[in-house]
Symmetry: C2
Subunit: 221 residues, 2 copies
């Protein structure tokens, strides 16, 4: 058995794990799961400097996890392959399951998450088939445009206050956003319920939805 060749093999594989072994790069991947983003957008959304974001993107690119394409003066980064989304979801699932600190940190970040009802994908689909459930996608519009759950209506969180009166009073309002690590759907739901509507949150975002075997819709290009 070739010990040096075996060591090199594991070292190469470890490179991918090293690429995702940083909190900023994980957040960048989480953003890219929703839609392609420019460096500027990623730096802003991830709360890091432009140079820092760019450096982290080079690390992710070098590990084959993202690719960038130039569009004029901007470079649009996206996931290199859907299996990268799967790896991120798997990592997050293991972290949540195996480390109590992750669950605690999630409660601190999403303090409202135990206060409202949740709904499963299957129950959501049944409700939408019956016609008594309304599904709201409260992500930014570029993320909705990149792909959304079937039947979802886009009401970005920042526009919700002026649009609450549009919501029917006799339906169950279901909100979703980027997935389990996102608070947008919690905040939207709080407003919906405060306004007297019945509501629930879907924990899954588009990536979790697809990983569970359901399909998404996409606007015509």
């Amino acid at each position: 058995m070739n010990r040096p060749a075996k060591d090199r093999l594991y070292q190469h594989i470890a490179q991918v794990a090293q690429a995702i072994g940083n909190s900023h790069r994980l957040e960048l991947l989480d953003l890219l799961v929703q839609a392609p983003h420019s460096v500027e957008q990623l730096a802003l959304a991830g709360g890091m400097s432009l140079a820092n974001a760019s450096q982290h993107l080079q690390r992710l690119k070098h590990a084959g996890l993202v690719v960038g394409e130039r569009l004029g003066t901007t470079i649009r980064y996206r996931l290199a392959d859907p299996i990268v989304a799967r790896l991120w979801i798997e990592l997050r699932t293991v972290a949540l399951s195996q480390l109590a600190d992750v669950e605690r940190a999630l409660d601190e970040y999403r303090p409202q998450r135990q206060q409202f009802p949740t709904i499963t994908p299957a129950a959501l689909q049944a409700g939408m088939m019956r016609g008594d459930t309304l599904l709201l996608d409260v992500r930014p519009p570029e993320e909705f445009n990149a792909g959304y759950l079937p039947g979802a209506i886009s009401i970005p969180l920042d526009t919700l206050p002026t649009r609450l009166t549009e919501l029917p009073t006799d339906a169950l309002i279901v909100t979703y956003c980027r997935g389990p690590l996102c608070v947008y759907a919690d905040e939207a739901l709080a407003q919906v319920i405060a306004r007297g509507r019945r509501g629930a949150r879907l924990e899954e975002g588009v990536a979790e939805w697809q990983l569970a075997g359901y399909s998404i819709e996409r606007l015509a290009a």
Copy 2:
């Protein structure tokens, strides 16, 4: 949006990725996927010092990926949960798919892997149903005892030379070992084919087999 809480959340999740961001720790996980091992066994199989192996195991334990239980003077380590095996397989799959260097390193470690036929799990099962296929598990006996593919016979690689005459001449001999990063099945297959038998390798080990939805057998305790 609570920026500090969000940062902490991603930092906690990154801890798990950091834990697997080292080649030695990946090899330890790969070994533990097959069966629980003592620190001494792991250090030997992984080509590292006892103290180093122990340190890496502490890192994996702290990330919730392995657990240890004392049995007399030895501590037997095992995966904390099957989802850890899934994470390892997912990471490896991404690495093989996204980095050409990983494929090259695998070729260097397994130089014979393109020379022999392979067989899919479905074709293997069909052949065993027909009764014209013999499945050999060439891992060490403790790993076979921890769980093996249904219908497999255990012939550890080091005992194969003295047992080749036992093999039927009219069946397809299929070998498997720890999975895609293991050479045991290649070396066994070379001997089987050199002795004039028809042979093929199954790339999947027990973890890949289970992840694909098939069940394994286990000897009564």
